[in-house]
Each structure stands twice: as C-alpha cells, then as structure tokens.
C-alpha cells in the first residue's frame, strides 16, 4: 500500500526530547504563528527569571511528536550577555554569532551595506531591528609590528532603532487562539521588564498537499536538506534513515554535537562546569575538560525579515514580457509574465522544477520531485535557467566542469545547505495584485551550525555572486538587487530587467538552544 505522505525524518531518543521541535518540523499542522521579538529593557542583568515565568505559559516544544500548540525560543549574543551567561561561555560561540549579522564586513559580504550606506536590498531608512551587538575590542596593533597605520580604518558602529535580545515563536491552530496566547505571554513578561518590541503574524496557509505558497504565488520550502546520522536520526516510521543521495547532509550541519560535513563534531558553545549547569542536564564536553556542552542538540537560527514587493514583481514581469513581444513578435508567443516569473524562480507556481520542454513530473506522492541533479537533465539551463533562484540557492551538481565531477560537486554543494523554517507574514495580495500599503513578506529563518560556511556562503557565493555559473554581472533575480537576468533559449538567450523585489527590514543571528541548555538558561 502506498503511503499518502512521504516518510520524514525524526530524532531518536534521547535527542528527541533534548531538541526544540522547530528543528524537526515547521509545524505545518499549526497554520497560525506569531514571532515575538523580545527586549530586556531595564535591568543590566536579567538572569533567567523571565524565562521561568515564560515557561509557565509557553514551554518550549520538544521534538518527540505532534503538539496541540508549539513554541520555540532563540537568543542573540547581546541577549545572552544580558542574561548573565558566564564570559567563558559567551566567548565560546562562533565569530559570526558573537559579532552579529550587522558587522560591517559581514554586511558587505551578504550584500546589505557597503561603504557606510545601506544598499537597495534593504528597506529605505535602513533595517528596523537587530541585536545591536556591541563591537568587540577595536583594532589596535598588528602582531610583529608595534602600531598600525596613519590611515587605520575605524570599524563602524551599526545600530538599528529596535534591539532584539530574544525571539519567541508561537504556533497555534487559529488567529484568536494565537492572539490570546500572545496576551498571556506579554502579561507574564511585563513584570520582568521584558517587552515585545516587534512582532509579526506568521501564516502558513498550506493547500491540501501541505504545500504553502509565498506572496509572489510560488510553492515554497520544497527543497530541504535531509539529515542522516546512525545514532540520532530515524524515519518517521522508526526505520533506519540512510543517507539521501541528493539531499542528505550529516546531522552535524543542523545540530551541534553531531558529526558534520567537515568530519568533526560540529563545534558549539560550552559553559564552565558547575552544579547548576549539571542539574539542568548539560553533559560534559567531549573535548573541553572542565566544561559542559551548552551546544548539544542546539543550532544557530538565522533570521531575516524580508519584505516583498508583489505589485512591483508582477509589474516588472509584465513589462519584460511586453518588451520581448515587441522585439521578437514572431518567436515569443510563449513568453508571458508567468512564464518569465517561473524562469526567475526556477520552478513553476505549483513547485515543479522547470526542465527543457516542460517541468519535472510529480513524485510517487504526487508532490514536487526534489530528487534531481541539473547536470544531466539541463546543464545549460534551457529549462531551469542557471541564474534562477532555485539553482542559485542550491546548485546541486550544476557547477561540474565535466561528467566525472558531478558527484564531487553535488557533495560540495551539500556542505552548504541550510534547513529553512521561514513563514510568510502579511495578508496575501489581491489577484491581480494591487498596491494596498500592506507590509508583507517572508520571515526568513534557517538553521545551521556553521553560519559562515552555510548561510553566509549561500548568500555570498551563490545568490549574490555576480559571476555565478559563468554568468556575468547579474545576481539572484528574485531576492537580489535591480539588474538583469539571462534566460537561455535556442537559438539566442533572452535577457530581462529585474528590480529589487525583496528588501530586508531587520535580521540577526540567534542561538536556538537544546532543551538542557534552555533549562540552564532558565536557572541563571
């Protein structure tokens, strides 16, 4: 008998009750969500009292099964500082997390800011929120020479109006339930001088097959890495989960404390050994004597609030289609706004991959097939353009110079996967889209254990790389800045103008603790 849903992966005991549920599930059975961005105003050191209070109304959901409602929590470095985490623990996090997303060199790499100015891919006036991470010590001397130069550059202090110390995600069955729950949360946090400084209503609106569409109208969240680990991962039915040939990644790419793609235990944070930490359930760290493993079964959560210009997107597609029709009246009957939009995305609106002459047929579960490579099927991008969003976001074996290198390049690409847990916010645009002044977009969230090698790499080396796949002077058509995009066709490629359709309104890096670490933070 054929199952109606494909088997999914889950964590084996004890990791299932040690890991936040958000890691294994996007909570698709709970269509309504709220993202509450918390700030510890008032006291210099808040400790964990507020978290204990919160735990009474919104305990963090673990990963052992379906829940009536669900909560997830994550902290910025600035937040952990304010909660009074010991210095040795704070310093044991990786550099990107310690510096925050809004460090000047980092912002340049991921395409947000250059030479002291926000780029077009950021909302006018600059982002609204971040962790406002304090700079680490300034640049002083160089090893081996006494002082720096007369023209030494002083690193910029980049601040946003709103400071976010923690992110609370709530998932419920309906709007009213969610609103009520939020009120409860606000009420218990207020006495601890923890306030909700920003919030977003998250929607899922999945169709009958469980597929949700983003605001431009395309099925989203289809391609995800599938973790494997002999000790810690199984299939939903309990069977062993072998490595998926196309999308398999070691569990350590997503959770600290497990083997990662670089053949080591994914390094996470530690805390000095003490009875409180032991009581919370933290285990001795395998490498650092005298420290407990704060990272085990936790992860980094990258969050970016992305606003989408739905009207502008379809307007641009219409203008391009009209232009192409005018320049090529005889050969362009197939070029419609939807046809162009599908090329920019790389899938059709239902989520099926574009292929030469059509699209990839659905898999055995009547869902978009995600088990494919590009090299054999569509090397030059006559179906799914090389510069399309899906191909840039996960090139699979695209970049292989010859057939013998396909597997190498696929393996290489899988060393940079991220597990996406984003949801859209804002009421859907009308059909056809019309300007309505509503802020809508995607609260992009992804999990990874090595921010530089995973999230930042995808952003810089694939999505925003002007030379990706031997293209020239173009970036991601969907989320990149204004520019052009090449669509290969025979005999001659077409080029379309794209605008900046997606703008970042805030973001930062968060630590998504495992449940022992969560209990430890509560005990601070």
């Amino acid at each position: 008998m054929q199952a109606s849903r494909p088997p999914s992966w889950r964590l084996k005991a004890p990791h299932d009750i040690e890991t936040q549920g958000l890691v294994v599930s996007g909570f698709s059975s709970l269509p309504t969500g709220r993202a509450l961005f918390l700030n510890f105003e008032g006291k210099a050191t808040t400790g964990g009292a507020w978290l204990r209070a919160l735990d009474a109304v919104a305990p963090v959901t673990d990963a052992d099964g379906k829940e009536q409602r669900a909560a997830a929590i994550a902290f910025t470095h600035a937040g952990l500082c304010r909660m009074g985490l010991p210095g040795a623990a704070l310093d044991s996090f990786s550099d990107p997390f310690r510096e925050g997303m809004f460090q000047e060199d980092r912002l340049r790499r991921i395409g947000d800011r250059r030479k002291g100015e926000w780029l077009d891919t950021v909302i006018p006036g600059g982002p609204q929120w971040s962790a406002n991470t304090k700079q680490r010590e300034g640049i002083a001397g160089v090893a081996g020479s006494q002082s720096l130069t007369s023209t030494g550059h002083q690193e910029e202090e980049i601040a946003t109006p709103i400071t976010v110390h923690a992110l609370l995600l709530l998932y419920e069955k309906g709007e009213d339930l969610a609103d009520g729950w939020c009120e409860q949360v606000r009420a218990v946090l207020a006495p601890h001088q923890v306030s909700v400084v920003h919030s977003l209503p998250l929607e899922l609106l999945p169709d009958a097959k469980g597929i949700a569409r983003e605001h431009f109208g395309f099925a989203d969240g289809i391609s995800q890495p599938i973790p494997y680990d002999d000790q810690a991962v199984a299939l939903s039915g309990g069977q062993p989960a072998p490595r998926d040939p196309w999308n398999g990644v070691p569990l350590g790419e997503i959770l600290f404390g497990h083997m990662n793609g670089h053949h080591e235990i994914a390094p996470g944070p530690v805390v000095p050994d003490d009875p409180t930490a032991r009581a919370a359930g933290l285990k001795p760290h395998p490498l650092a004597e005298g420290f407990l493993d704060l990272g085990l079964d936790g992860s980094y959560l990258v969050v970016r609030e992305l606003r989408q210009d739905v009207v502008g997107f379809w307007e641009a597609m219409r203008a391009n289609a009209a232009h192409i029709r005018a320049r090529d009246p005889k050969g362009s009957a197939h070029v419609t706004p939807v046809w162009l939009a599908e090329r920019a995305v790389g899938r059709n609106t239902a989520g099926h991959l574009l292929c030469p002459g059509g699209f990839l047929p659905p898999n055995a579960y009547d869902l978009p097939d995600n088990d494919f490579g590009f090299y054999d099927r569509d090397r030059f991008g006559f179906g799914c353009p090389v510069g399309s969003h899906v191909r840039r976001a996960n090139p699979r074996d695209t970049l292989a110079p010859d057939p013998s290198q396909k597997q190498t390049l696929l393996d290489a690409a899988n060393n940079h996967r991220i597990l996406r847990r984003g949801r859209k916010f804002g009421r859907p645009a009308s059909d056809p889209p019309a300007a309505d002044g509503v802020d809508r977009g995607l609260l992009f969230m992804c999990l990874n254990t090595d921010i530089a090698r995973q999230f930042e790499f995808v952003q810089q080396t694939w999505l925003f790389n002007p030379n990706f796949g031997t293209l020239y002077d173009e970036t991601d058509p969907l989320i990149g800045p204004k520019g052009q995009m090449t669509i290969h066709e025979k005999p001659l490629r077409r080029r379309i103008d794209v605008q900046t359709f997606v703008k970042m309104a805030g973001g930062d890096y968060f630590f998504l603790p495992g449940l022992s670490a969560y209990r430890y933070l509560k005990s601070l």
Binding site: D105, S145, T149, S150, G331, R495
Partner: protein
Amino acid sequence: LEVKPASSAVLAALIDRLHDRGNGPAKDGQEDYAWFMQGVPCVHFLSMSIFPAADYDPLFLVEANFDGPPGPFWGQVEAAFGEVLRDMLRCCKRPLDADGALFDAVTAPDSRAPVAPYMEARTQRPSVFHHGNRGMTRDRILAERDLFVAIRTELATANSGGESPYRSMLPRQIHAGLRAALLRDRPWLAERAPVRLPYLTRLADLARLAVFAVLLVLGLSLPGLLLAPVMATPRYLILLGLAILLALAALYALRDPLPGTDTGGKTNLLGVIFSLRTLVIGGLAILLYLLTTALVTLLASLATGVLLREAWPGAERVALLGLASLPFSVLAIIAWLRWLELQDSSQDQPPVDENMIRQMAQREDWIPQNHMGSIVPLKPGILRSLVVHLGHLGLGLVLKVLPDSGVRGYLGSMRTVHFAHWAFMNNGSRLLFFSNFDQSWESYLDDFIEKAHVGLTLAWGCGVGFPPTRFLIQDGASHGRKFKSWARHSMAISRFWYSAYPDLTVDQIERNNRIANGLRKPALAAKEAEAWLNDL
C-alpha cells in the same frame, strides 16, 4: 625583502597610503586605480604585504603577475609609484649578498638611482606556478571583455525600439550579423586569433617533465645501482625480494588512520600509483630512462674508447638491476613517510590574532576576486625536505603538462585561480603561497577542501601543524574547519592589492575568449554557430 623590525610600522603605513591613493577616501572603486592601470599596462595582479612571524623578522613581499620581460615592468612600476618605492626599501634590511651595493646606491640619502634594477635583482621566481588563463595577455583579456559587453549592447539595442533583426535569424546569420556590426570598431576581429600556447612552449613543458622523470627514476634506482656491481645477480634478487616484502609488511602495519582522523576520502596513494595514468607515465619514464642509459653508455664508450659491444652488457645489467630496486625504494619511502605521519603533531587550534583577522576581513570581498598570501614553516627531516622539494618541482611540472591544469586552467574540478605561486623562503625552511582567486576566501578554501583536497594535502601537508594526513594525500585538508583555521593563521594582510580586471572570473575570461575566437572566424557551420551562441 627582509624588513628592519623597527621600520615595519612605517612600511605598513607607506603601503596603506599607496592603497588609499588608489582608492580615494572611501575603500572601494577599482576604477580609481586608473593611474596604475595606465602606468603599468602589462600587470595583471600586484600585491604588497608584510609577513610578521614569531621566529623571523618581518618579510616585505611584492607579488607581481605581469606580461613580458621584468625590466620594463619594474621601470613602469617605479614610474607609477614614484619615490614611495624607495622609501619602502629604506625600511628594509641591506641584503647580505652581492645586491648589497645596489641596495646602498638605491637607498642612500638623496639617491636618484632607479629602484627598478634592484627590484629586478631581488626577484625570486616561484617554485610552482599556476595560471588560470594561460597564454592570455592582459590586453587581450581587456579587449575581449570589451567585445563581450559590446555584443550585449548590440543585441539589446539593434534597431532600437523596433523589432530586433537578430531574433528572426538562423544561428549562422546571427554570427555573421554580429561580426559585421562589431568589426567596424574592432579591426582586430579580422585577424586570426594568436595562438595562446605555442607548440614549442608545450614541448618545453614536456621536456622539463621528462628530464625530471628520468632523474627521479635514477634516484629511485640508486639502491640497486649501488649494490648491483658488488653482488651476484641471484643474491641481489633474493635480497631485493626480501626487502620489498619487508616494506610491504611495514606499509600494511601502518595503514590505519590515527583514531578519529578518518575522513573517508576515496582517493588513496596506492590507488593513484596503480592508476592507468600513473602506470603509463611511469612506464614512459622508465623507457626514457633506459634510452638515456643507452645514450650515456654510447657516449661513455666513445669518450673512453671501450667498445660499445663490450660495455653494453655490463651497463645493461646494472641499469636493469637498478630499476628492479625501484619498487623497493618507492615502498620504503612511503612506509618511512607514513611512519613520520603517525608521529606528526597537528595543530588543532592555531593561535590567531583577532586584529589581524579583522584587518584581513576589512580588505576582503570588495570585488568578486580576492587575494591571499601565507607562509608556513616546513616540517623538518631529510626525507620530508626531499619530498617537499622534489614533490613541488614534480607537481609544478605535471600541472603544466596535464591538459586540464596546464591548458584549461583547472585544479581538480575548480577553476577559480587566476595566478597562484609557491616559493621556498629562508633557505628552504618556509613555504610561501600567494593566490589571486575568484569569490571569497571562505569559498576558495571550501573549494580546496571539497574539490582539490588531494592536491592541497600534497602541497601543504609538509607544513608544520597541518591537520593529520594519511599516505601523503588522504584526510588532511578534508578536516575542513581545522584546515581553514590553520590556513588563516598563516596568512598576512594583503595591504595593497591591485587587479587589472576585477569583474572577470577565470571562467568568464575563457568564455570571452571562446566568443572572440568564434567572432574572428568569417563564418561558422550551423552546428558550430549554435554552440557559439550558447556562450553569449
């Protein structure tokens, strides 16, 4: 150039000021380097960095990749930079060798002696060199970029506003139409494409490798060559057989990875040695060696008057018995190396200076290309020294000869390196590496880890503190994060760095070249034209 430690801060400031002169007050905009671009028309990439070290005084290194002879190049650099170059040299130590006099002349107060000859005299050629677009001069790269952009414009604007003439054409006609349109401003399109790698260059590459191979075979047969004259053949063969068995046994005993360091890589040294390619190359080398022996015997017999007929049997016996010991030498060396590997200390967490890292980050990722320079101390020991020096020489020669790397510019499956150098410093105790590459440092290193870890482990595995290796090429760089932090800690800040074509990747230069070469042809066949259009 060795720096006077007390002057290194001043030198750093001088370089930074040069950097800022290029960049204007803001830190970007490669176009601002126009003065340098025009002043030094043959340069591809140029970098200046100071390498501080715990065990040595700082080194000031100028890395230059340019077309043509060095004399005029340094003259142009001096003219473009002006007196600052002299000021920089004043921060450096007087060399201990014969160049000292020249140094004095150049750095004397109020000296007007040209600096260029001194720079030329102090130039050290790299021991291994890799060029991504071999045979492409800077002018050609720039002209072909201009052509690429012009084609884009022509296709987008022909018959402006109205119907595009190209859309209703067959591939062959599109080619012809574009050629006609672009030829007007570019008479060079009518000329035949200059050959990028002349036949003679390729032949010379091959000849150098052949000489190296013959000498290597000679070196590896030394045990047999020495023993054969003093031992009877059967005894010698028995001894050899036992020795080979012993070496094999040692290898078998040492084969396992150190606990926790296995990365499951599929390529291993024995696999490489017994691959068809190596066996064919090895067979050719042995054949060459035998030919050389015959030739040497002939020459010797001519010189000494001994008849060839009498000399040959003896010479042949020695040569063959010598060759018979080659497997033993190879196996014994591998076993010895393996034994060393098992005792090696690897540095899991190299000390990194946060300020240095910050300053590197500040200068990185402004354009889609980046630069790195690193110096690592080499592992001690006679075998290691031999292997690293010979290995380097061999690797460099092989890279040039193999079509993938020598002609098409690939290292493994990656083609992101414009120019890379290796060179030995400080009497061969340290290894310098410079690279001008596409994309970010992170992605470049990840490329190495994921796509070229075998070659990289071979090239850098001799560095002190490198992650644990197995049989010279396994594991090593596959320990990705450890390798990255090891590489990062060996790097210096690239204080001044210039690229003549900051927007072009190696791939794009090749693409432009394919397009230009196609457009130089008066007409293309239908199939050819279709493939050509695919590049536009």
